[in-house]
């Protein structure tokens, strides 16, 4: 029983243990590590990733593995944001969120209704939208030229009290909101049950299709917010702006202790996973490791965490009978 408690503790708070270890390591390697500027930089660097990962975590938590359509959703959102800016900031934000929600709705309905493999389906959707963008815009950048361009650019540049980037505030607020939603609300409990066993959830009277669709809509909207920030930062939109983000988001979700089969983990853990990535990258650059070695280290950490998560899950299942 004692062993089970230890394993349960590690599986729930393992990410934050990694964060504490990395903070300790950072303090050892650089006296500037704990400076406010550096800590804010770390948060700033992973804020877009954190927003994306928090949405993708809903899909994972719901037992639907991962949402690989996010790169294209990011790209679509970046185009929508720039194209609708002429109608004003609020309509632009609404349209951008709507674009992500619609892609999520499409994914959720198809995956939920027809039980198509999530990875295959979302990857196909990603190709479709990436292709459509290139058909329409010819692989060219589009730039912010009309509407309130200054306000648009400030989305990614504004700092609250001159210090804390808006992206960080959005990421933390989103994580807190989603954590409360997932852990306290009825729908949150239904998400967990669907993630644990769809069959049980269905027999319990839960509308599984609605829950799965909701998780994808959440993921799509989070990807759209990420796309909006990226478009603001780059002052442009391009079909490849979301490239690579999906795998970093999956890394963050897995680091958080979530199991890709669903039903385990927490959004607070995702924050830990995102922080771990930010700290790891920061420390490796401070150490002067080149980008290739950084990839190797990140990959090794990812493998170890995936192994450890599966190990604790198996052990816990065995101990709990």
């Amino acid at each position: 029983m004692k062993k089970a408690n230890i394993l349960e503790f590690v599986s729930r708070f393992g990410t934050y243990m990694i964060v504490i270890i990395l903070v300790g390591l950072g303090c050892v390697i650089s006296d500037k590590f704990l400076s406010t500027t550096n800590l804010i930089n770390i948060l700033d660097a992973v804020s877009y990733l954190g927003i994306l990962a928090s949405g993708m975590a809903l899909v994972t938590y719901c037992g639907q593995s991962v949402d690989l359509s996010t790169p294209s959703t990011i790209a679509v959102a970046s185009f929508v944001s720039i194209l609708t800016l002429r109608f004003g900031m609020i309509p632009m934000i609404l349209c951008t969120l709507l674009s992500g929600a619609l892609i999520g709705l499409f994914n959720g309905l198809i995956v939920g209704k027809f039980r198509i493999n999530t990875v295959v389906w979302t990857l196909a959707v990603s190709f479709v939208f990436a292709g459509l963008i290139r058909v329409i815009f010819g692989s060219a950048n589009i730039y912010v030229t009309t509407g309130n361009t200054r306000a648009f650019e400030q989305i990614s540049r504004y700092r609250i009290s001159g210090r804390i980037p808006l992206g960080v505030v959005v990421m933390v607020a989103l994580m807190i909101g989603l954590h409360i939603f997932v852990s306290r609300s009825r729908i949150g409990r239904q998400l967990k049950l669907v993630g644990c066993s769809e069959l049980v959830a269905r027999y319990s009277g839960i509308n599984v299709l609605r829950i799965i669709t909701l998780s994808f809509v959440g993921s799509g909207m989070a990807a759209a917010i990420t796309g909006l920030f990226i478009a603001s930062l780059s002052k442009s939109a391009c079909y490849n702006y979301g490239t690579g983000y999906e795998f970093r988001a999956i890394t963050a979700v897995v680091l958080s202790g979530m199991v890709l089969d669903g039903g385990r983990g927490s959004i607070a853990g995702v924050l830990g996973g995102v922080l771990a990535i930010g700290l790891l990258n920061n420390i490796m650059t401070l150490l002067g490791l080149n980008s290739f070695l950084q990839d190797v280290v990140t990959g090794i950490v990812f493998i170890v965490i995936v192994w450890f998560t599966n190990y604790t899950k198996t052990k816990l299942e065995a101990l709990n009978g």
Binding site: N41, I110, L233, G244
Partner: protein, 407 residues
């Protein structure tokens, strides 16, 4: 049963949309053909040659009204050192095999020019992938082909070497008069070039260099003078920095010739003209995410503090944006940032005073150049083995000359 039918219909629909999207996008095995419309089609014998030679290509303009065909140069190759690897990385001759990959290549016998005129000839452009730069490149290739009365078919590999391998076979099967080849991957390029050579199709390499061995199969190679523009960037930035201070370099993506050229062109030149300038770090955060670049530069600022004076970027969209944003967030407007190429982002930053300089690597002229060489070859003229676009520095004083941007 009804559910299964519906699922099948949906999947079929999705697949059809995917295929349509892919075909039109240049992703996958995308191809796009343009036939010459503005000029006469080929006719027999010397008449066609005379008409081809009479084409006024010199007055052609790009979308900004600048000459479509710009000044080029044929590089001088220095004597190769006995063992380049034994030299320090800050010595430009250490990179001899990278900067002059064609220097020791004994070219294989090339197909003889038909010398019957360029009008009516068919070209296939094997493009490496989609990117705003390459969109402008392709546009210019088509424009130039139209000027010379040639037909051009574009196949884009979307950065997938396996797709490019299939497209090489497809291009050979179509038996064009000439292929313009932009490799996705240097290592695989030699296999592609050997196939095209064995098929007897003349090939002009463009934009990205093939592997050293691959040069033996090429009729000619043309493109940006990556090493030269890196050195030019280094010279300008060193002058602005007063030939002192420390710098960091952000590389281009590994796998292409730009990776070494745009990093070590800067480093070797600075070692020569500004030995007091010290390279603090080199990183490769990629060219896809400004956020990744911002993180690297923020970490540099944390690590090196006031010791960091200059940042060199290997491109000017994502990398320049990430660098500028990181410096602004840290209140380090004193750090000089210079980058290679001339995107609209770069030109705007130069106008705003946030980017010290960029280099002129115009995609339209890059895309038009291999067509010009092909036309000359079809007309029986001798073309150089290696032709590069003359680089230039774009700064606050001359940025207006380069507007509007091509991409």
């Amino acid at each position: 049963m009804k559910k299964r039918t519906l699922t099948s219909l949906l999947l079929t629909g999705a697949l059809a949309v995917s295929l349509l999207a892919g075909c039109g996008s240049g992703g996958g095995a995308a191809s796009d053909t343009q036939t010459a419309t503005g000029t006469e089609t080929a006719d027999a014998g010397g008449d066609n040659l005379e008409k081809s030679k009479a084409i006024d290509w010199q007055s052609a303009k790009d979308n900004a009204g600048n000459p479509l065909f710009i000044d080029t140069f044929v590089p001088d190759t220095p004597e190769k050192p006995a063992d380049p690897d034994s030299l320090p990385e800050t010595d430009e001759l250490h990179w001899f095999n990278f900067e002059y990959p064609y220097a020791e290549i004994q070219k294989l016998e090339q197909p003889a020019s038909p010398a019957d005129g360029c009008i009516g000839k068919k070209l296939i452009l094997l493009k490496n992938g989609d990117h705003p730069y390459h969109t402008a490149y392709i546009e210019a290739t088509k424009q130039a082909a139209e000027i010379f009365g040639m037909e051009v078919e574009v196949m884009s590999a979307n950065w997938d070497v396996n797709i490019q391998t299939q497209q090489v076979d497809q291009a050979i099967n179509e038996a064009p008069d000439l292929i313009i080849y932009n490799p996705v991957d240097q290592e695989t390029s030699v296999t592609h070039l050997r196939k095209m050579y064995d098929a007897g199709i003349p090939v002009i390499g463009s934009n990205v260099m093939p592997s050293n061995e691959g040069f033996q199969y090429l009729l000619s190679f043309c493109g940006p003078a990556d090493w030269d523009q890196s050195k030019l960037l280094a010279q300008y930035m060193a002058e602005k920095a007063g030939y002192k201070g420390n710098y960091c370099v952000i590389t281009h993506n590994p796998g292409g010739s730009a990776y070494y050229a745009r990093a070590y062109g800067v480093i070797t030149e600075l070692a020569k003209i500004a030995p007091d300038m010290v390279c603090l770090d080199i990183q490769s955060p990629g060219t896809d995410s400004a956020e990744n670049v911002k993180q690297v530069v923020s970490d540099w600022i944390t690590k090196y503090g006031d010791d960091l004076d200059v940042i060199f970027t290997s491109e000017t969209t994502v990398q320049a944006t990430g660098s500028i944003e990181a410096c602004e967030a840290a209140g380090r407007s004193d750090i000089l940032i210079g980058g290679i190429d001339n995107s609209e982002t770069a030109l705007n930053y130069i106008k705003e005073g946030k980017l010290t300089c960029a280099t002129n690597q115009p995609p339209m002229q890059d895309g038009a150049l291999p067509v010009l060489l092909a036309a000359k070859w079809f007309n029986g003229e001798t073309i150089d083995d290696y032709v590069f676009m003359e680089p230039a520095v774009i700064n606050a004083d001359n940025v207006e000359d380069f507007l509007p941007a091509q991409w």
